[in-house]
């Protein structure tokens, strides 16, 4: 079997676009889906994770726990189908929403549950004295979280947040199931059209690996920037994908 990398220069049948250009467009979609979902996951995850540690609000804690269990125990693919097929049927107002937005919410909420879990663990790993110190300063609960607990907790959980961010990028591949024109969708379609599966898959796999590595480096940069001199954080065991 011989290589045929020129397949990328062939026209993809849509008129004037090569497979290479198609793949670059697809990479753009992958990055857009992952990037938008990342913002949602971080904001919602930080909020839900914080709620789970509130000292005097058992109902908020319970609701946040339900959120985490709900979004963590249903496969992402099923969640994407639910957002894409079921939600617009239950709420007819949502029928006009583009599938890109639905997938971003599905991926964002799915990841938010995992991030919330990390945020909770990070907050609870802080010595109780930190919270008491905030109270002793006369801080309100909000102020304690804002100025004492969260700045420490987020520094501690940066390594697991890095792997969750990389997971999110990889999980964006599941968007193929509702025909988002991202990399995996490109791989499947181009493989079928050109019968040059190995070349196509190698290129797509490479782009995923590059993207994941870039996320890794970006987070490492952030980690270094926000590091408190002399304060060393031990990394935990990460699972999942």
């Amino acid at each position: 079997m011989a290589w045929d990398w020129q397949v990328f220069l062939n026209d993809d049948g849509s008129g004037g676009r090569t497979y290479l250009q198609w793949m670059m467009d697809a990479w753009g979609w992958t990055l857009s889906v992952a990037g938008s979902a990342w913002v949602i996951a971080m904001v919602v995850g930080a909020l839900i994770g914080t709620l789970r540690t509130l000292p005097n609000s058992p109902w908020l804690v319970r609701m946040a726990n339900v959120w985490v269990e709900l979004f963590r125990n249903i496969p992402l693919l099923v969640q994407i189908f639910l957002w894409y097929f079921v939600v617009p049927k239950i709420f007819p107002v949502m029928q006009g929403i583009p599938s890109f937005v639905l997938v971003v919410f599905a991926l964002g909420f799915f990841t938010s549950a995992r991030i919330a879990e990390q945020v909770r663990a990070g907050i609870q790993s802080l010595p109780k004295g930190q919270r008491y110190a905030g109270m002793a300063m006369g801080f309100t609960t909000t102020q304690t979280y804002r100025y004492v607990i969260l700045p420490m907790a987020f520094r501690i959980i940066l390594p697991p947040l890095t792997s969750e961010s990389m997971n999110l990028l990889k999980n964006s591949s599941v968007a193929f199931a509702v025909s988002i024109a991202e990399l995996t969708m490109f791989a499947m379609q181009a493989q079928e059209e050109t019968s040059r599966g190995i070349e196509i898959y190698i290129a797509v796999t490479g782009l995923y690996a590059i993207s994941a590595f870039a996320v890794n480096r970006a987070m490492a940069f952030v980690e270094k920037k926000v590091q408190i001199p002399g304060y060393v954080v031990a990394g935990g065991v990460g699972g999942g994908h």
């Binding site: 693919l77 099923v78 239950i90 065991v237």
Partner: protein
């Protein structure tokens, strides 16, 4: 509620469409967990062996698998396995091979952490008793590492069970596909997705409660 009717499903439909798919998902989970732990432990031992070529190969394999989306790995194997074996293989068999190979990378990281969590004194004690490397691993280190990591391994299994739904990419008949097929035939696709979600949730949540209990039990003994 937009005219959803979850009552369309009957025992007849379940046994005809869903049960087979459910059994496939469960089987795939069990086989991939056992195979993945076995292969993953070998990878972990290779990485910790101190023999450079072995370490390099294992590290490359684990990091490679972990930097690629599972869907792509599933597609890769579906494309490559027939090329290697020279004859077409079914989506189900291809999925099984894929999941063992893919999950091994994740299980190996867990086993590596488990092995490293065993105090050096244990290894030295084994050596002092005149144990060979394999005896030391088999009788002293691995049983403890496995036991310490049991909750993490089981949590990974729950994730694995959810991941089996991704065989959708190559059209294997699993739990999700069972529901989707039934939904299509009876004209109730939305309800089918909801029911699938409920079943996945029940299994995964149930298992995670069990894992939490197990974790507490182990914590008390130690």
């Amino acid at each position: 509620m937009g005219g959803l009717d979850l009552t369309f499903v009957s025992w007849d439909i379940i046994s005809k469409f869903v049960l087979g798919g459910f059994m496939f998902s469960v089987n795939l989970t069990i086989v991939a967990t056992l195979g993945g732990i076995l292969f993953g432990t070998v990878l972990a031992l290779m990485r910790l062996s101190g023999i450079k070529p072995l370490t390099l190969v294992a590290t490359f394999y684990v990091n490679g698998m972990r930097s690629v989306p599972l869907v792509m790995v599933i597609l890769w194997f579906f494309l490559l396995v027939p090329l290697i074996t020279g004859r077409p293989v079914g989506a189900e068999l291809s999925a099984t091979v894929t999941f063992i190979a893919f999950e091994a990378a994740y299980f190996s990281e867990i086993m590596r952490a488990g092995i490293q969590s065993i105090p050096r004194g244990q290894v030295h004690a084994g050596q002092a008793l005149g144990m060979t490397y394999s005896q030391n691993m088999r009788l002293v280190v691995l049983p403890q590492a496995f036991r310490n990591m049991l909750p993490v391994l089981l949590t990974q299994t729950i994730i694995l069970f959810q991941d089996t739904s991704l065989v959708y990419a190559i059209g294997a008949y699993d739990l999700l596909k069972g529901f989707v097929t039934a939904g299509k035939i009876y004209g109730r696709p939305e309800e089918a997705y909801i029911l699938a979600a409920i079943v996945y949730f029940a299994v995964c949540f149930g298992l995670s409660v069990l894992v939490k209990r197990l974790q507490n039990k182990i914590a008390i003994i130690r």
